[in-house]
Amino acid sequence: MQYQPNIEPLFSKLGWLGLITFAVLTLIVVPWMYLFIPDGGAFHISSYTVTLIGKIMCYCIVAVAMNLIWGYAGILSLGQGLFFALGGYSFGMYLMRQIGQDGQYQSDLPDFMVFLDWKEYPLHWLGTDSFLWAIMLVVLVPGVLAFIFGYFAFRSRIKGVYFSIITQALTYAFMLLFFRNETGFGGNNGFTDFKRILGYSLTDPTMRAALFGLSAFFLLLVLVLSRVLIKSKFGRILTAIRDSESRLMFCGYDPIRFKLFIWTLSAIICGIAGALYVPQVGIINPSEMSPANSIEIAVWVAVGGRGTILGPVIGAAAVNGAKSFFTQAFPEYWLFFLGLLFILVTLCLPFGIVGLFSKLKNKFKKIES
């Protein structure tokens, strides 16, 4: 018998309502309040806030990608930070080229290359002055790396903590590589001092609003996409891989293909998030690749709730909101807080904030009945 696709709607009524509200808020209301309400007006939103929310939305995209692979397929990747940074670097190369001769040394080359006394762009910078090629790189670099790495890893059935550790080592190796000046990515300092995209200034409020809107749009897109995936037959196979891979194999499925697809897709989404993140924050350096960052991504998802559609978004927003607050108010206690968060969430809230809510809801229902 043919598998009957799930006839449930993609989102519940409430879900659609939430999505549309979010879309209206981020695509219309916030940009309008930022651009058209004058500074000092009661509902004006500052550049700082727009950038902060835009940044957090990029993190949310990463969290959704992490949820796809960890929450549904049960593969804890500690390399998502690497793909995020690679996407950022790919787009950063284009941004560096857009600086043109406005750098400190007024050279065609980026400042760091002048500093290293390089005479021309190295080979891997070929074509990065084209916006289209840069966009393709953002997808291709994380995608190809994830595909190759995943092919070999999944083929030899590396799973569970082994896979986590190997991806962490991969991330670490890349971080060391990018710290080198010879790699051609600005070493320690990475890329910064960006000026414009497609000729438009990055500091222009319209540009900020556009980047903000673009991030929001991609977040919505990724959310819907992951929902579509999860609701499909493919999604069922993913959860089956998570819950019992050997049983799935005995049923005649080849889990490698499914894992490889979702892992590559997740990497590409992270890369896009990175590309959106870099022009908003204005800097990318190798510390984005530190293994700690990748693990933090996992904790966003864990805090929000693994395997739920909204969980990762809530988690990423909550943890990063807390981080902004703590690092300003009590910088020395942030690590304590983060450490305790890791421990308490895994010990007491295995399904995160979303799980906590549904638990409470069930309790209320029981009381009512």
Binding site: W70, G74, L76, F149, F152, A153, R155, S156, R157, I158, G160, V161, Y162, S164, I165, I166, Q168, A169, L170, Y172, A173, L176, L177, F179, R180, S246, P291, I295, A298, V299, A302, E332, Y333, L335, F336, L338, G339, L340, L341, F342, I343, V345, T346, L347, P350
Partner: protein, 539 residues
């Protein structure tokens, strides 16, 4: 700096060598009379004259001059004061009669001082103390000049120590490479064949090159053949020494990795959880060493050298106790959920790092080597630091200890049984919860021991553990779990392998190559090189 000084001396020496062909006669009064002069140049010349005489009296005089003990009388005689405040002649050491009424110190300015230093350095080749002669011979070797040949011959004639003779003879041969006599050159080359110095090789190779007019630097074909032979011989030795050095640093790195990974392998093998806070157990061990050191400094300063020995149990216990507490409070609630354990232990590691920062400060703390761990042993021109040798020995001892514990004791039996088949072990009455706790404590304790070792070779700071955690995981992944042998082979193998390729490709590429290598190995052997065979393998 020193070089310049010596070159200045040699320059002046060369003048004198021309002016006074009779080098090497005994000191006489005219040699030193210049010291009484009011002109600095005269005094400088006098120093050179004394240096050229080059016997023990000359050395004594120069040293006295250095210490401002030399005096000059009104008549311009250079004199000394003996212990009874009598004035004696500086050369003959005979009492002056009549004793002069007034005398002044010979003035030594900075320029003279540096000249003196160089001169004394050369003359110390004739000292009675072997160590002084050795240092002098070594520093001479680095500043050779044809003018020193006479000195060298003189020093060689009275030198009896083999090592110093070898150095002097090498220096002498290097000078004789430029000798006009062909036989002397051949002898020199033949002697240098036994050398194992890169510098000597460069000198010899230079002789084989052609100069601007198209002639060989070394005109005689016979000598060139000898030189070629010598260069090959030296090359062979240099390669051997190079490999030996790499092997040693590889073993040193490998034993550090072994110490760091052994505890990890035990806990991972037994509990199936990856403990990301393992690196912080290293860090705690290192800080325990620091605290022990401070206690010794404050309360037992006379036994300071023994503090490292006391730190070993301290570090083991502090890490083990913290490990047991963590196992009881956090990790045991997460058994069966390895990915969550990974996150929770990462949280623990963040927490511990911040805690240590709050207590000890974010800066590195200073842990010093006891005297018996400072310095090194020199073998074939490679200095092997004592602390690194000690770590290799220490790792071996810890390994033997763990092996005995696992294979000979009841606890070891339990650990092995639970690792192989948890439920079966529980069925026959093993208290698995208790075994888990003790094994976790043991693993953490071993990490603490690794911390003691690390504190002796590097900085001790809150981030100490982070640097080693990924490498030790690589060891566990490569070696497989459940057997100590796998960890040992993987740690030493990785250590030696990375040190062998590092000089060629650099440290970063080495790490990447190792990662690729490990992934390649895992393609063939997914459970690591030395996995346990049996039904329990696939969980």
């Amino acid at each position: 700096m020193l070089n310049n000084k010596r070159n200045a001396l040699l320059f002046i020496l060369s003048f004198l060598a021309l002016a006074f062909p009779m080098v090497g006669t005994a000191l006489d009064r005219t040699d030193i009379s210049g010291l009484a002069s009011e002109h600095v140049m005269e005094r400088l010349k006098a120093i050179d004259k004394i240096a050229l005489v080059g016997d023990s009296d000359a050395l004594r005089l120069l040293k006295e001059l250095q210490n401002s003990e030399l005096l000059v009388t009104d008549t311009g005689q250079i004199v000394l004061e003996n212990d009874d405040w009598d004035v004696i002649d500086a050369i003959t050491l005979e009492m002056l009669d009549p004793q002069p009424d007034t005398y002044n110190t010979v003035i030594v300015n900075n320029r003279m001082r540096s000249q003196l230093e160089s001169a004394v350095g050369v003359l110390q080749l004739l000292s009675d103390d072997r160590e002084i002669r050795l240092t002098s011979a070594k520093s001479l070797r680095d500043n050779l000049s044809p003018l020193l040949l006479t000195f060298l011959n003189k020093a060689l004639a009275q030198e009896s120590d083999e090592e110093i003779r070898r150095i002097l003879q090498e220096s002498q041969s290097i000078i004789l490479l430029d000798s006009p006599d062909e036989q002397e050159r051949i002898d020199a080359v033949n002697y240098l064949t036994s050398s194992s110095e890169r510098r000597v090789r460069e000198l010899l190779v230079a002789k084989l090159e052609k100069n601007e007019s198209g002639e060989f630097e070394e005109v005689s074909a016979e000598v060139r053949v000898a030189i070629e032979f010598a260069v090959t011989a030296i090359d062979r030795k240099l390669t051997f020494i190079d490999y030996f050095g790499r092997l040693f640093s590889g073993l040193s790195l490998g034993s550090i990795l072994l110490l760091a990974a052994m505890g990890l392998a035990i806990t991972y093998g037994l509990l199936g959880v990856i403990n990301l806070a393992h690196g912080e157990m290293l860090m705690i061990g290192a800080y325990a060493t620091y605290v022990t050191q401070q206690l010794f400094v404050n309360y037992l300063p006379s036994y300071f050298d023994l503090y490292v020995l006391a730190a070993i149990p301290m570090a083991f216990l502090s890490s083990a106790i913290i490990g047991v507490v963590l196992e009881r409070t956090v990790i045991r609630w997460l058994y069966g959920r390895p990915l969550e354990t990974l996150l929770a232990t990462w949280g623990i590691s963040l927490f511990l790092i911040q805690l240590v920062r709050q207590i000890f400060g974010a800066q590195n703390v200073e842990v010093s080597n006891p005297t018996w761990l400072s310095g090194g042993v020199e073998v074939w021109n490679i200095v092997m630091p004592l602390n690194r040798i000690a770590i290799i020995v220490f790792a071996a001892l810890v390994l033997i200890g763990i092996w005995l514990l696992i294979s000979q004791t009841r606890l070891g039996l339990f650990i092995r049984s639970v690792t192989q088949n948890r439920s079966m072990a529980a069925c026959v009455g093993v208290n698995t919860a208790k075994v888990d706790m003790l094994a976790f404590g043991l693993g953490s304790g071993i990490a603490g021991l690794a911390g003691v070792a690390l504190s002796q070779i590097g900085n001790v700071g809150p981030d100490l553990g982070q640097a080693y955690i990924i490498d030790s995981f690589m060891v566990v992944v490569l070696g497989g779990v459940g057997q100590l042998a796998g960890t040992v082979y993987a740690a030493l193998g990785l250590g030696v392998f990375s040190k062998f390729i590092e000089p060629g490709v650099g440290a970063v590429l080495t790490k990447i190559i190792i990662l690729v290598f490990i992934i390649a190995v895992i393609q063939k052997r997914p459970q690591g090189l030395f996995a346990l065979k049996g039904r329990s393998v696939e969980g």
